[in-house]
C-alpha cells in the first residue's frame, strides 16, 4: 500500500524511466526508483537521486510517515565516487523499507543536510562525515562525533592507510 504511494511520489520527483532490473546494480546506474526483491535484499524500494533532489526525496519519505533508520556512505573508488545511503523504515505493519542513495564526486563530496527534516540525522551525518569526509551543507554542528575532536582522517575511505 504505502509502497506504491511512496514509489509514485518518488517517481514523480524523478520523472525518469525505471530501470528494468536489479541486475546491473554494481554498475553506475541512472537515477531512478526501483522495486527490489525484499526476500533476498531486505528492502523494498531503492531510489537513486541526485544530490539536488535529495532534500525533496527525503521530504516525501517524511510526509509518508517513515522513520530514519540510518545514514551511511560507501566509497566507490573505482568510479571515483562517494555514495550516501539513507535507510528509512516504518513503525506500522505496512512494512516498507526505503533506501535513498545519491552519488557525488570524490573530489567534492558535498550533499545537503536533512537535519531540518529529520532531527535525528544530526549524529548520522556527523558519523558519515567522520568516516568518509562527506560534507553536509547546512549541518548545524559538523564536528567529529565518534573520532577524536581533532581527527582529520577518514578511515572508511578505501585509500586510507592507518
Amino acid at each position: 500500500m504505502i509502497l506504491e504511494t511512496t514509489e509514485q511520489a518518488l517517481q514523480a520527483l524523478l520523472a525518469g524511466p525505471m530501470p528494468a532490473s536489479a541486475a546491473d546494480q554494481a554498475d553506475v546506474r541512472a537515477n531512478g526508483v526501483m522495486i527490489t526483491d525484499y526476500k533476498s535484499h531486505g528492502y523494498h524500494l531503492d531510489a537513486k537521486v541526485s544530490a539536488e533532489q535529495l532534500v525533496a526525496a527525503v521530504t516525501i519519505v517524511d510526509e509518508n510517515g517513515f522513520f530514519l533508520e540510518s545514514i551511511t556512505g560507501v566509497d566507490w573508488i573505482k568510479e571515483n565516487q562517494l555514495e550516501v545511503i539513507y535507510d528509512f523504515s516504518r513503525y506500522d505493519f505496512d512494512t516498507c523499507r526505503v533506501v535513498i542513495r545519491t552519488r557525488i564526486p570524490r573530489e567534492q563530496p558535498v550533499v545537503p543536510t536533512i537535519t531540518a527534516i529529520y532531527a535525528g540525522a544530526n549524529w548520522h551525518e556527523r558519523e558519515t562525515h567522520d568516516f568518509f569526509g562527506i560534507k553536509f551543507a547546512g549541518h548545524p554542528h559538523l564536528v567529529p562525533l565518534l573520532l577524536p575532536e581533532d581527527a582529520d582522517f577518514h578511515p572508511l575511505l578505501k585509500d586510507f592507510k592507518a
Binding site: A22, H41, G42, E69, D87, Y91, D92
Partner: protein
C-alpha cells in the same frame, strides 16, 4: 592559592557528566550547560570506546567477522550475532534447518531476558536502590549458566554459524531452561512488589521526560523507547524473521512516553520472552542443526543487503554492500541505542539533573554498542 569561583547569578556553568561518571554506565560524556540544578543545554560526546567495527568488517571474511558482533553489545550479544548470520543467509540464500532456528530464537530470548534483568538492576541503582541489582544479577546468573552450558562462553557468545549452529543443545539445557522459567516468574512478582509498586520509584519516574511518538520517529528511536511512547513497533512482529511468526506473544506498548512507561515495557517484555522460550521448548523439532552443505568461504552476490532484527535495545540493522568478494565492500551497523540516545540532548533541556539521569537510565544504554 584559591581562586574565587566567579559567576554572575544569571550565568550558567558547564557540568561534564562523564566520561567517568556512575550514571553513564561506561565511558559516555554529556556536556551539560547548567543553571543551578536545571539543564539548559546538553551535548552528548561519543566515541570513547569507538573501535571501528565497520572497517574490520571490510577487512575480515564474513565468518571471521562473527566474534565482532558479540563485542558490540555485551549484554545482549546473541541478538546481534543473530542479525549477522541472518543477513548472510539472506544474501547467500542459505536455508537453515528449523531446529537451528528454534534454538536461535530460544537462546536470543534468554539473552534478552538477561539483558533486561541487568538493565533493571542498573536502572534501579541509578535511582539509588541497590538491592534489586543483586536480585537481578542472581536471576541473570542462572541464564548465563544455561547459555554457558550450550555456547561455551558467558558474555561474548560466538554460537551461531552461517546455516546453523556451532553445536546442538543437550537435555541439560532444556531441563535447566524449564526450571528457570517458573523461578523467573516468581522473581518478576518480587520485582513488581519491591520496585514497580514502590511509591518513591513511581514518583521519580511518572511524567519524567515524556517522549512523543513524533520525536521517536524523527530520531528513529526503536525498541522499548519507541514502545513506551505508544508506537507498536517490534521487528519480530512487523517484519517477522527467523521463526518468530510461529510464536504467540504480545508486544507491550504504553502510551505515556515517560520513563515509567519505558520501564514497564521492558518488565513486560521479560514475561513475553519467557512465553516465547516456553513455546520454543515445546515445539522444538528434531533434526539437524546445520545445513547439509556446510558453507565454507562464503561469497555474497553483488548488491546491497539489509537485515533488521529486534535486539534487547531495539532494531539492530546490518547493511552489507558486497562486490562479490569474500569480505564485505562496506558493512554498516545500525545500532539502536545510537538513535535512542540521540533523543536525550533535546529531551533533557529544562530538566533537573537527577531526572535527566533517570531518563538516561531508562534509555538502556550500552556504550560500546553506540560507539561501535
Amino acid at each position: 592559592m584559591s581562586a574565587p569561583i566567579q559567576l554572575r547569578p544569571d550565568e550558567t556553568f558547564i557540568l561534564n557528566v562523564g566520561p567517568q561518571h556512575p550514571a553513564t554506565h561506561g565511558v559516555l560524556r554529556v556536556k551539560m550547560e547548567m543553571d543551578g540544578e536545571y539543564i539548559v543545554k546538553a551535548e552528548t560526546v561519543l566515541g570513547y570506546v569507538h573501535r571501528m567495527h565497520e572497517k574490520m568488517g571490510e577487512n575480515r571474511t564474513y565468518a571471521q567477522y562473527l566474534p565482532n558482533l558479540s563485542r558490540l553489545d555485551y549484554l545482549g550479544a546473541l541478538g546481534y550475532t543473530h542479525g549477522h548470520v541472518l543477513s548472510i543467509e539472506r544474501a547467500a540464500g542459505i536455508e537453515v534447518p528449523e531446529r537451528a532456528e528454534y534454538i536461535r530464537a530460544i537462546t536470543v530470548e534468554l539473552n534478552r531476558v538477561a539483558s533486561h534483568l541487568f538493565w533493571f538492576g542498573a536502572f534501579v541503582m541509578d535511582l539509588g536502590g541497590f538491592s534489586p541489582l543483586m536480585y537481578a544479577i542472581q536471576d541473570r546468573e542462572h541464564i548465563l549458566d544455561i547459555l554457558e552450558g550450550v555456547t561455551g562462553s558467558r558474555l561474548t557468545y560466538c554460537y551461531y554459524r552461517f546455516g546453523g549452529l556451532y553445536n546442538d543443545v543437550d537435555d541439560e539445557f532444556i531441563e535447566a531452561t524449564k526450571r528457570f522459567i517458573p523461578n523467573m516468574r516468581k522473581s518478576l512478582k518480587k520485582y513488581a512488589a519491591l520496585v514497580t509498586g514502590n511509591i518513591i520509584f513511581h514518583k521519580r519516574l511518572e511524567g519524567i521526560a515524556p517522549v512523543s511518538a513524533e520525536t521517536c520517529r524523527k530520531y528513529g528511536a526503536t525498541g522499548p523507547v519507541a514502545r513506551g511512547s505508544g508506537i507498536n513497533f517490534d521487528v519480530r512482529k512487523n517484519e517477522p524473521y527467523s521463526v518468530y511468526s510461529d510464536f504467540d506473544f504480545d508486544v507491550p506498548v504504553y502510551q505515556e512516553g515517560d520513563s515509567l512507561a519505558r520501564y514497564k515495557v521492558r518488565m513486560d517484555e521479560i514475561e513475553q520472552s519467557l512465553r516465547i522460550i516456553e513455546q520454543g521448548l515445546a515445539k522444538l523439532p528434531a533434526g539437524p542443526i546445520m545445513t547439509e552443505k556446510k558453507p565454507k568461504n562464503i561469497k555474497l552476490p553483488v548488491g546491497d543487503f539489509y537485515q533488521a532484527v529486534e535486539t534487547a535495545r531495539g532494531s539492530f540493522g546490518i547493511r552489507i554492500v558486497s562486490d562479490g568478494d569474500k569480505n564485505a565492500y562496506r558493512l554498516k551497523l545500525r545500532s539502536p541505542t545510537y538513535s535512542n540516545m540521540h533523543l536525550f540532548d533535546e529531551t533533557c533541556e529544562g530538566m533537573l539533573i537527577m531526572d535527566a539521569l533517570a531518563f538516561m537510565g531508562s534509555l538502556d544504554l550500552v556504550i560500546p554498542e553506540m560507539d561501535r
